[in-house]
Every structure is written in C-alpha cells, then in structure tokens.
Subunit: 267 residues, 6 copies
C-alpha cells in the first residue's frame, strides 16, 4: 500500500455494535465484490458501519460526501497545471479503483446524474473506470468495492436514483437500534451511566413517533451521543437535551413544547 492510499487506512477499530447479521452479509457481498447500498435514516450508523467493515476487512476507505454541485471530475479526477505543464490528479473514485480501496459515496442521491452514471462501468462485469479526459481505462484493483448510502426518507420525484443505477447494488437496511443496544451505544460513546443513556433513548423513541407528524426526522443516535457528552461534562440534563435534542431539529413552538415535555418526563 503506497503513500497516496495509506492515509485512508482505518488505523483503529471503530466502535460498532452489530444489530443482526449485517456484518456477515456484507462480508459475503465483499467476497464477490458486489457493490453495496446502505439504506436508512440519517445518524443511524451507516457511516460507522462501513468504517468498521473497512477495518475488519483490512482495506482502506475513501469517503465522499455527495452533493448536488459535485461534478464527475470531482470523483474521477482532473488535469492540474504544473511547472512542467498539466498533471493528472486522480479523484477519490479513481484512487480507490486504482489502489483497491472501498469507496463510500455518502448520500449519493444528492449528487447529479453525471456522478451516478460515472460509477456504472465500475459496477458491472467490466469493473472499469474510463478516465475519458485522460484517455485511460482503469481496470479496477481486485480489492476495490463501491458502497453508497441512501436515505429512503429523502426520495422524491426530483431526486431519486435511476433504476439502472439501483439495480447495480445489493442493499442492506439500517435503522435505529433497539432500546437496549442503543442504550449500550450511547453509554459506551459518552461514558454516561446506563440509566442516563436509557432515559435519553426513551426520549428519542418518543420523538421518532412524531416523525411525519410535525417532525421531518426523529432524534438520531448521534444526537443522543451529543446530549450524553454534554451531561458527562457537567451540563444539567434538561439544558443538555434542549440544546442537542430539541432546538436543532424544530422551531415550531408546539413541537418544542412536546419535545421539552418528553425530556422533563425522564429528567
């Protein structure tokens, strides 16, 4: 593994609490280098999972946060001007394909179509990446795998993956973990007691029931970890929850009251 790629290796084991058989299924998919799609709501652990798998499989991981202003060149690469003329700079996808990393395109549905189409030749039997501007055809490294994340809650007529893209991926569903597991995660990550962590999870569960009834998204595991870490650093639980669980996600006074009430039920 050379210098370009070594900065992307996952040096320490990321904390990941397995929920069902997702680790085994991912390993089987990787064994046939099947492109994978991780589906689930924001903040439920998709990114952590792919980091964990990269660590477990001993492969470098290149993560790209997709967005609607990203061009195909941002993924594939471009020519840069050098003292001696133009020099080709591989983009993250080309680096991954060339050196055998796992390439993780986070929130791929945000990207423009040229981004999603550019991955097609990497996701069928050919496993190639044409660098059209350079006139080179990269044959993907045997270790290369493509992973994308996808939040079904964002799906809309305007922004959805094309069927011809979707069909190129195996898919794993993710969701917020069960009460006990989520409690364990929050406690592990923030060092608050199991009791405090359990209360935080209970608040989140109430909020998740409000999704679609005035809240666009529920409270995520990530937000609970924020609340927990403030509590662990001495902030009183009511203030910590208001600051991390309520204020960030809604400005509606009724919804704030409902969520504040949920917080005071437990603290």
């Amino acid at each position: 593994m050379n210098d370009v790629i070594s900065q992307y290796s996952v040096k320490e084991q990321p904390y990941y609490r397995s929920v069902t058989d997702e680790v085994a299924l991912y390993e089987a998919a990787y064994s046939v280098r099947m492109p994978m799609m991780l589906k689930g709501p924001t903040g439920c652990g998709k990114t952590r999972f792919v980091e964990y798998m990269a660590w477990k499989l001993g492969k470098p991981l290149i993560t790209v946060a997709c967005n609607e202003d990203m061009t195909a060149s941002d993924l594939v690469g471009r020519f840069l001007l050098d003292a001696s003329g133009t020099r080709w700079q591989d983009g993250p996808l080309a680096i991954a394909a060339r050196h055998g990393a796992i390439c993780y395109l986070d929130e791929v549905v945000e990207a423009r179509q040229d981004t999603t189409v550019v991955i097609h030749p990497l996701t069928d039997a050919r496993r190639v990446l044409p660098l059209e501007k350079k006139g080179e055809l990269i044959q993907a490294h045997p270790d290369f795998q493509l992973v994308i994340s996808y939040n079904p809650g964002y799906q809309s007529l305007m922004k959805d993956l094309k069927q011809s893209t979707k069909q190129r991926f195996g898919a794993l569903d993710f969701n917020y973990p069960d009460h006990e597991i989520e409690t364990e995660i929050v406690s592990h990550e923030t060092r608050v007691s199991q009791d405090v962590a359990s209360k935080l999870v209970s608040i989140a569960e109430r909020a998740r029931n409000l999704k679609g009834h005035g809240l666009d998204e529920g409270i995520s595991t990530r937000m609970l970890i924020y609340a927990g870490s403030l509590i662990a650093s001495g902030v009183d639980p009511m203030s910590a929850c208001r600051m991390t669980l309520v204020r960030p996600i809604t400005d509606d006074p009724d919804m704030r009251d409902a969520l504040d009430a949920a917080v005071s039920t437990f603290f």
Copy 2:
C-alpha cells in the same frame, strides 16, 4: 492497431447467449456500417451484446456512459495544456472514428443535445467528425461504427431523441430472455445449479409482471446473477434474494412484502 486503441480491444470472448437472429442482423448492419440503436430495458444484456459483437467482428470497442452533464467536448476532445503549450486530446468518439473502433454511447437519451447533434455528420453519407475547435475534419476510418442504446421506458417529453437523430439509426429490440435461456445464463454466470437458477428466474418473472403496478422496472438478469453469486458463496437464498432482488428496487412496504412472498414461494 496502435497503443491508444489496443486497450479497447475485447481480449476474451464475452459470454453471450443469442436469443433470435440479432447476431446476423447486426452483422449485416455492420457490413454496410449502418449506425445501430439497441432498444430495451435496463440490465437485459444490451451492453454484453455489443461487447460480444465487437469481439466477434474483431473490432475495438469504446463505451461511453452518457449523462446530462457530458459536453460535446467530452466526446470529441479538447486542448490540454502541456509543457510546450496546448496539445489536442482526442475524445472517445474521435479516437473511435480515427482508429476504426465501434463507439457505444450507452443511454444516449441522457445526454444533452450537443452530444446527440455531434454524431450527425458521422451517421450520414459523409461519415465525418468535424473537430471545430481544432479546425480538423476527421474522415471516419472504414471500420468505424456508431452504436447507441436507448431505454424506451425512459422516454418522456423532456428527454427523447430528436426525430432527425432517430432516423439515422437501424434499431434492434432487446428484452429479458425466455425462462430457459435466462436460467442457462444465470447458471453459467454464477455456477449455481440449473434448479436454483430456474427458481431465481421465476421470481424475476413475477416481479416483471408488477412493472407499472408499483414497480418502475422489473428484476433484471443482472440482479439474478447477483443473487446467484451470493447463494454460490454460501449466503442463504432468502437473505441473498432480499439483499439483491428486493431491497435495491423498492422501499414500499407492501411491494416488499409481495416480493418477499414471491421469494419464499420458491425457496
């Protein structure tokens, strides 16, 4: 055949299972260098067919995944800055026209009009490609042929080929193969038994009947090969099918139930 073009030659015979007389018709079309349009749903084998024909005809194949952010320059070429000033870099279409490759524009309907208009002079009696920015007129190599793919399911008022483009192509229809042939393909590609392959095809056939009734597209042959390869690597068939045939194409709970039921009928 020089270096630029040799990387595009199809070195090994691609597996292609002929369905009707499409191979002979394509050969006749190629004999008069007629531009060809391959029509059919995603994942039914159009790309594999053109690879097979390129191999059979002994011609290099240059494939371009079209997208709405692709410019005419991406096809035709551009000037790059070099140590000694600007240097012209042929785009894939120019390489194909100059050196006598088959140029395959995949999902051409996704491209902007400047892409589709740029191919006009290559698809009439003149068979030329004007490199306007370079002031050069490429007379196409005698071996050059243009092939485009087209998914009629995508046709819409907003995105369709212009009549003046369509009329420049002969057209071949593609569809998913018959049960027996598709079983043979899945079994050949994944090494699962004929029996398992046949069951997978049966599941696909049920899903294809749901197209237009809640599914945008049916399950493609490519997806069956994904399922088969997971099964062949030891994943249990129910999990393999959920992961490769159901989860990728729908998030609708009812549709998932219907497809899961179809899977459990056979496994």
Copy 3:
C-alpha cells in the same frame, strides 16, 4: 485555395436528383451572394443539395451541425494557449468568411440566439464578421455565402428564428420527392431493383400520411436508403424494413403494427 480551406472542397460530384428549378434559383441567389435558407423535413435531401451546389459552383463547403449548447465562439473562433502564448483559432464561420467558402449552418433553429445574431453583419450590405475578442473585422471574401437549413416542423414558440434573422435570407422549400424520382434515388444509392425501391417508397408514403396522427415525422428518403442497403446485402426485406423503417421511429405497439402491416403489404 490554401491548406486550411482545401480540406473542405467537395472532391467528387455528389449524387443529386433535381426536382424542379431549385438548382437555377440557387445559382441566381449565389450570383448576388444572397444568404439562403433551405426549408424542409428531416432527411429529404437539403444537406445533399447544398453539397451538390458547392460542387457545381466549385466552392468549398463548411458544414456546422447547430445545437443549443453551441456558443458564438464555436462559430467565430477563440484564443488557444500555445507555447508562445495565446494563438487565435478561426471558427468555421470565420474560416468560411475569410477564405470564401459556402458556410452551411444545419438546423440553425437549434442554436442559441448568440449564434443567430452573430451572422447578422455577414448577411447585410456590410458582409463583415467582427471578431470582437480579437479586435478584428473580417471583410467577407467575395466567394463567401451563408446557407442555413430550417425544419418548419420544429417551429415552436420557444424555438424559432427571430424575424430580424429570417428577413436576411432568400428561401427555398424542400420536400420528399415524387414517387418516381424517389424510387430512382433509392435504387441509385442502394443498387436494389427499381421494383424493390418502388415498394420501399410506397411504404414511406403510407407512413408519411400518419405524420401528425401518431408519428412525429414520416419515413425519410435516408431511411429508405438504409432499408435498401440491408436488402441489397442479403437481409430479408421484412426484417430490413422493421429494423430501419419501423423500430427507429416508434415504440407505440399500435403504430408498430400499422407500419409492419404496411411493410407486409408490399413484401
């Protein structure tokens, strides 16, 4: 005639079958260097006519396929970076004006307004082309003439030439030729018998009656030549017609049946 322009000379007499007095009228228009507009449906022979006239008049011909992503610079020229700094590269319109070619802007209505406005000073008494970026005013060569093509069927509120553009041109109407003449053309171009050619023309005539009743455009002469050349190379007429006359222009099952029936009436 120098090197830049000589590649645009029409070396061999193009086959053109005159229909009425269009050749004489064009010659008169050229004698006063009147800009010309050729009107008619796609594939009826406008491009071939202008090639024939260029050959007959002994003038080089520079053809530009217009499209909505083409900029004024694509026509007029631009600065390129060279070893010794920037170098001006004439665009096709500037080459034609400077060296005395006929410049043919195909499907001009597809172009953006900056393309159509750029031709204004070349189409009035001044006959100049200002290269504003270069600060040069090209006085058109005495042999220079501008020709545009225009498909009235495409006319729409969104895309039409401005009146101030239209008024700068003399206009000639084109249409598909009469049965006998079109038969002669198809037979001449494909080497099929007069009998087969006549049948192909009859099929086209039926389809042209369907224009506006489910077909956007009829079957063009160019498509008949495709069908004929497949038949001449041994493909059975039914397959050849399906592949070149029916499949390319419609995916509607009823329309396909109607056209297939027309084909089997004659073959």
Copy 4:
C-alpha cells in the same frame, strides 16, 4: 486616428435617403454628445442611417450585434494570456470610448442587463467607462458617442430596457419610407426600373397591413432589395418574390396564398 480604430472608419459614402429632419436632429444630438436611441422595425434602415451619420460626421463606427449570451466583458474587454503573461484586450465599447468612435449597439434589448448597465457611466455627465477588472477608469474621448437601436415590436415584460437606461437617451423614430421614397431606394440599390421597384413596394405595403393579422413583421425594405436584385439578375419576378418576400417569413399555407396573390396582382 491609429490602426486599431482606422479599420472602423466608414470609407465610402453609404447610400442613405433622408426621410424627414432626422439628419439635422442627429447632428444636434451629436453636437452635445447626447446618447441616441434609434427606434423602429427590422430592416427599415436604422443601421444604414447610423453608417451614413458616421460618414457625414467623419467619425469611426463600431457596431455590435447584441444578443442574450453576450457578457459585459464582450463589450468592455478582457485579459488574454500572452507569451509574457496576461495582456488586456479592449472590447468594442472600450475601443470606441478610448479612441472617439461612435459605438452602435444593435438590438440592445436582446442583451443581458450587465451589458445595458455597463453603459450607464458613459451616458451621464461623467462619461467614464470603468474597466473594473483592469482597475482603470477610461474618460471617454470627446468624439465618443453611444447609439443603440430598439425595436418596439419586440418589447415584452421579460425583455425591455429598464427605465433607468431609457432615460439616458434621446430617441428618433424610424419606419418604412413612403411609397415614392422606398421606390427610389429599391431602384437605386438594385438597378431595377422605377416601375418594377414601385410594384415591389406595393407588394410590401399589402404585407405590412397584415402585420398582427398572421404576420409577425411586414416585408422590409431590405427584402425588397433582395427581390429586386434577383429580378435584375434575370430571375422571373414571381419566383424572385416567392423566394425573397414570401417563403422567408411564413410557413402558414393561407398566409402564403395571400402573399402569393399579392405578388401576382403586380407581376
């Protein structure tokens, strides 16, 4: 007058037939360097008038055909890369302001707002042109004058000059000349007899009555000169009129019949 500007001097007296007191009024406006707006339909002689005035006043004339893709830089200038780095290239407006030419912006209403706003500081008491990219403030040459043309028929909610632009100009109205004068013009420009010229003018007068009743614009003086020059070169009058007066401006069969009838009334 140096080399840059001398190519813009009007060397020969352009033929211009004065209609009323427009020449004297323009001279008075020029004497106070008032910016001028020439209003009138397409092809009625606005461009010829400004050429004539430039000749009469002995000032160079720089004409710019405005369009919606023109940028402020196209008018003002830009940096170009040279062997020794960047070099500033004055745009046509900067050349005119610096060297004292009349700058004529043809069809200014087509331009984007940055074009029209860029002329503001040149059209008030300051008479300056800031080259913001160069950090230079050009104080206009005493001879500089700005002239714009404006076709009221094009006015629409979407495209109109801003009031703050309009108020910076004195305005002269133009229209097609009276029968006698227009006959004199057509005869002078084409060398056809007064009789033939008079007939052509009569045809135009009929068509102009149809403006707004199926025709967007009437037949302009420029079109009559086209017709006359074809007749003068031996084309029969009916064909010449069809080709230059009827076919270019309408594809509507009824309107064509009406115009053809008008032609046969006189020839």
Copy 5:
C-alpha cells in the same frame, strides 16, 4: 494618496443644489462612518449627490454600476496571470476599503446576493473585508465608507435587499426637487433661460402625475437637462422635447399624444 486611488478623486466641485438638510445628515453619518443608503427614483440626483459629498469631504469616490451578472469577485478582486505567475488584482470594493475611498454601489438591488452579502463584514463593527481567495483580511481604512443606492419603485418579491442587509444602513430619501429648485438646476446645467427651464419643469410635473397611469417612471431631471441642451444648441423646443422627453420613455400612441399635448401647452 497613491496612484491607484488618485484617479478616483473628484477634482472639480460637482454642481449640486441642496434640497433640505441632506448634506448635514450625510456629514453626520460619515463622521461615524455609518454605511448609507440613498433611496429615490431614477435620474433625481442620487449619483450627483454622492459625488458632491465626496468632493466636500475630500475623499476619493469609487462608483460601481451593479447588475445581475456581477460576481463577488468583480467587487472584491481576483488573481490574474502574470509573466511571473498569478498576481492579485484588488476589485473596486477592496481598493476603496484598503485606501479609504467612499465606495458607491449604484442600483445595488440589481446585484446577486453574493454581492450584497460580501459587504456585510464591512458594515458592522468589524469593518473588515475578507479576501477569501487570497487568504487576507482587509481592515478597512478609517476614511472608508460604503454607500448604496436603491430605487423603491423597482422593489419586487424577486429582487429586494434582504432585511439583514437593509438593517446595516442609514437611509436618506431623494425625490425630484421642487419647481423652483429644479428650474434653477436645469437652467444652470444647460444655459437655457429660467423661463424655458421652468416650462420644461412644468412638462415634467405633468408626466410625473401619469406615473402608474401608463408610465412606469416620470420624466427625470436628467431628461430635462437633455431637452434644455438641445434647445440651447438651436433645436426647436417641440422637436427637442419629443426627442428627449417623450420618445425615449413610451411607445404607446395615447401616452405619446398626452405627452406631446403637454409639450405644446408650454411651447
């Protein structure tokens, strides 16, 4: 004051006829370097006022005509390529902030949001201009002040300043001056008699009553000065008024008649 900025000093006292206490209020605002917004209709003297104040305060004045195609870089500056690499070129706002000029953004509401947001850090207690592309933070010169003009008549849902921008400015209202003062201005600027000037003002007053009843804007003081200067150079008053007061602002025949009648009432 160095060379870059000295070209922006107002060398001669501009003629400005004070209307109320606007000069004193502006001086107070400048004494605390409060950013100022000058509100009022087009051509009523806002630009002249700021030139006068710059002269009175002895500060250089940099004026920028805003438009919707202007980018933040046009204000702030950009890198240019030089013989020895890139060189930073301050934009007009950066020059003003660095060297202590009054920067006047004319018709700021026309600009895109990046222009208006770029001025925020210059208009609060920080008085800084971040040159993000250069990585420099300009601390505004103590003499620097920002002034913008704003025509309330242009306000629309689509184009209005954001509240967070408006709140950063003190505002002064401007309007056309009273009869006597405006007469004095017209007479002073054109050298016509007080009597003729008074008549011109009376015509303008009639037209201003038509604003909103068929006229978008009334006749401005600037237009009266145009009329006066033509009369002073010998043009008859009726022609001069038609050319400068009526024709430029309306093409509606009824409105032209009404305005022409107003003109003949006085001349």
Copy 6:
C-alpha cells in the same frame, strides 16, 4: 500560532452583555468540541457572541458570510497558478481546521448544498476535511470548532438546512435582549444617556410588535446603536431615528407613519 492564523485572533475583548447561561453552555459545548448552531433574528448579537466566546476561549475566529453563489471551493480551497506551477491555497474552512480556529459560517442557510455538505465530515466523530482536489485528508486540529448561524425567520421550503445537517449541531436560541439589558447595551456602545437609550429601545419594542403585520423584521439592536451614535454626534433625535430606524426598513407610507409616530411619542 503562525502568521496565517494570527490575523484571525481576537485581540481586544469584544463588548458582550450576557443574557442567560449561554456563555456557560457554549463553554461546555466547546469542551467536547460540539459543532454549534446559533439561532435568532438578524442584528440580535449572534456574531458579537461568537467573537466574545473566541476571545474568552483564546482561539482565533474565522468568519465567513455565506451566500448562494459561494462554492465549496470558496470554503475548502483551490489551486492557484504560480510562477512555478499550481499552488494550493487553503480556504477559510481548511485554515480553521488545520490551525485550530473557530470557524463561523454566518447565515449558512443562504449557502448552496455543497457548502453545507462539505462540513459533514468535520461534524462527526471523524473530524476530517477531505481536500478532494488536492488528494489530502485534513485531520482537524484539536482546537477546531465549527459554528453556524441560522435565522429561523428565513426558513422556507426552498431554503432550509437538511435534517442530516441540522442533527450535527447543538443549538442555542438568541433573541433581542430585555429592555434593561438592551438599554445598557445601546448606552454602552453609543455613549448616549441611559434615558435616551431606553427611549430608543421602547421604539424598537413597538416596531417588533409589527413584525408580521407589515414589517418583515423588527428594529434590531444594531439599528438602535446606529440611531444612538447619530444622536451622540449631535443629530436631532427625530432625524436620527427616521434615518436609521424607519427609512431603511420600509417604503410603505402607512408603516412609515406608524413608525414615525412611535418615534415622536418618545422624542
């Protein structure tokens, strides 16, 4: 602290009047490097608060005024051309992440999605900033913190932060301070008497009640400071209030009357 970053240190203690426990909560959030979102109306002191906290924590502060024309490169950095080829220039976000500053994105909701997505990897456990164009992965400095401001009044369907962005931040609400505290602030900042300051606050309170009833926003603390500083420099209070509290925020005559009446009630 090196040169690049030292220019961003807050040298003098900014005046900030604490309202509730926001300082302590922010310190707790900073202690766990939680990204923070400051919510509240324009001009209520969010920017001042973050400056105060940066000073109190002894960290440099890099402020970016977000806008819809800002690209990801404006935040992250870009390659610039140098005498010896291209040179990477860190953007403000990269400088902050690399050197350990607090990065404050003001009015982040104005930015395009690529700006908001670019901050994602900096706001989860990874705390990295991928410089994709440079192929570098910045591991954020331990002192780095991200702060954004957000005006809930601007929220609309078109422009709102994505849930996946919101959930990455703890949030603090800001509003205009209570009468007594705001009086103290105005008096402190302008040196007017407590009495005058109190009157100004009373005027603002009346205007804030009109928010949503004809006023888009109320009168902010910043505007009161403008009014106070004019009064302190000798302008009469009525004129000062009209100029700074009334004219800038409304052109509606009724609303102006209402606000002028409120002013005269107190002065």
